[in-house]
Amino acid sequence: MSVFVIGYYTLLLAVSCLAAFYNKRQIFMVAFGLTLVSFILGIVGGTAALQAVAICAGLLGLAAMVSFAFREFLIQISSAEMGKELRTAPMTAAFGMFVIFVYIIMGIFAPWIAPHGEAEVIASAFAPADENMLLGADQLGRDMFSRIIYGARNSVGLALAATIAAFVLGALAGLLAATKGGWFDQFMGRVADVIMSIPSLIFALLMLSIFGPHIHVIIIAVAVIYAPRVFRLTRAVAGNVVVMDYIEAAQLRGEGTWYLIRREILPNSTAPLVAEFGLEFCFVFLLVAGLSFLGLGIQPPTADWGSMVRENATLISFGDITPLIPAAAIALLTVGVNFVVDWMLHRSSGLKE
């Protein structure tokens, strides 16, 4: 019995007892459940397993603290009305907002944060980490850490551009279909059906194989693939707004289609569209990451998370986790955005469950 194990169980039991004493049912269930699980884990995996559990719990606690602090910070700097909304945000959503904030900073200030250039060869291939290179070198001897920082700019930027393109295309078509109706509506609906019945990755691969892996091709391909989803949602949301009396009033006033879309329909359908934008971004980001993992995304030497995973994958067979870091960066951002979207959907739909 090492000191660590004794301390570990003492802490868990102390937390369980305190939670039980103060009638905090959920905390008690978690703490005591963890104690029981730890018995089994301790027998099977020994001290190492318990240490892993402790590290995970510590990380979770740290994440919770950071998200709590960040939420308080947001409440302080925003207006009273916004602050009230933010107060309802669960921890997960606050964590998501913090992650997005960090990525934005990383993307904008990449050249100042990164110690080396993204294509700068400074060491031998797969050189181990030292005080100069935090995460070691990649397969060509470039600094891994700098490339991950630059990746925030390139990968996220590309996904964002593609999402915006898909969104503009889909939302415009949806709003037009809702206001015009008739054959245009029918036709666009069928086009959306056809595009949505091809698996997205397959369609993207087909287009990239024909037009070659250039950035503008990726953006257009993704826009075409994901616009139908946006189209359907916009069409449904705007369809509910179009039948309202104030739209009829505006039509009788003699306003044009563009005015109707801009001043009457769009302001009344922003909430679901914003949530859809977040969701769409996740899909697009994963698709683009998948493409660049297959070597069809942003072309080297530009740093890009998906291709970095592929290029350094051989390190994994030596038990090195460096190639997993860019993949984790992708997952973290998607998880963060999803958490925020989850909260927004919950709020806007008024789901009680």
Partner: protein
């Protein structure tokens, strides 16, 4: 009964029509190629005679509509022409790989479907408890992770650190089923994790939706025991959404399989597609795309037909 058959027939007809439109898209997108296929194969430095000879050999001197007709007629009989790069028949290149991919997808589905549905129902019954919250966060994380991230984490732990399963699924002739299952365990597990998360969330939403309906409340109010409420009142109505969930996720497997096959170097059709894309081997790309799209449409069709068959309200449309 006539109504259902009509409804299903209409749905099937729509599926066939969409597949036809997709075959047009797949075929004519290659026509959009700057220059043509012969130019793309031989490169910019090719002489006029070489180009003309290749065009003649591939039948490119005929109008596009005629070639499309021939390609479609071939595709219906599973003959997709021959590869540009190696000259092999596309069917021989793809055939065996397609079976491998189907095997992998079936392996993943057999594990994922029952587990996900049972867990989804449990989570729905325990909704708003701490387990539900944890399950929500965990499934959301799995959905948000790229497939290759999960795949490499599994390789790191199961193959490198604990050496329980092989990292690369090399298949060979005459392997016993047990060995086959062990070799393909990690790719299957990766697919299971992703699909299970999707399926759990969808099952949970469907069940919660159902439990909110008035007849469930009625059953509770008249004093039926909880298990009876679930088994007699909720379950018969839950089949439609559950069948829908399963079919949609199997369709999702089709896309997920491409990345997973590349991570584990699994000899499947997804790997063939990616190779062909980087070599610009268009007949193989077209064939793979058509097969993937057809499977995808077929599963979506199955979802719709299943929903029609199990939903009494759709069975008797007003």
């Amino acid at each position: 009964m006539g109504d259902i058959l009509g409804l299903i027939g209409k749905r099937l007809g729509l599926g066939v029509f969409i597949l036809f439109v997709i075959s047009i898209i797949i075929f004519f997108m290659v026509e959009l190629l700057p220059g043509d296929i012969a130019q793309a194969v031989l490169g910019q430095g090719a002489t006029e005679e070489n180009l003309a000879a290749l065009r003649k050999q591939m039948g490119l001197d005929q109008p596009a509509l005629v070639r499309y007709g021939e390609w479609l007629a071939g595709a219906v009989t599973l003959d997709f022409g021959s590869s540009i790069v190696t000259g092999e028949r596309v069917t021989t290149v793809i055939g065996e790989r397609f079976m491998n991919t189907l095997f992998l997808a079936a392996y993943a589905a057999v594990i994922a479907v029952p587990v996900a549905i049972i867990l989804g129902v449990i989570v729905a019954l325990l909704r708003n408890s701490i387990f539900d919250r944890v399950a929500n966060v965990v499934t959301l994380s799995f959905i948000s992770s790229p497939e290759f991230f999960l795949g490499y984490i599994l390789i790191l732990f199961f193959a490198v650190k604990w050496q329980m399963f092989p990292a690369i699924s090399s298949l060979s002739e005459g392997m016993s089923l047990g060995e086959l299952l062990i070799r393909t365990f990690l790719p299957a597990l990766t697919l299971v994790l992703v699909v299970m998360a999707h399926m759990m969330r969808m099952t949970r939403a469907a069940i919660i939706n159902l439990l909110a309906s008035p007849y469930i409340e009625m059953a509770k109010l008249k004093g039926a025991p909880p298990w009876k409420v679930i088994v007699k009142h909720a379950l018969p109505n839950a089949w439609a959404p559950i069948i829908n969930v399963v079919a949609l996720n199997l369709a999702y497997l089709i896309t997920g399989v491409v990345l997973v096959e590349v991570v584990f170097v699994y000899p499947g059709i997804g790997q063939a597609l990616v190779d062909a894309v980087s070599k610009r081997d268009f007949p193989i790309v077209q064939a793979c795309c058509l097969i993937f799209a057809a499977t995808f449409i077929l599963l979506n069709l199955a979802a719709d037909v299943g929903a029609i068959l199990t939903n009494p309200r759709l069975r008797h449309p007003k």
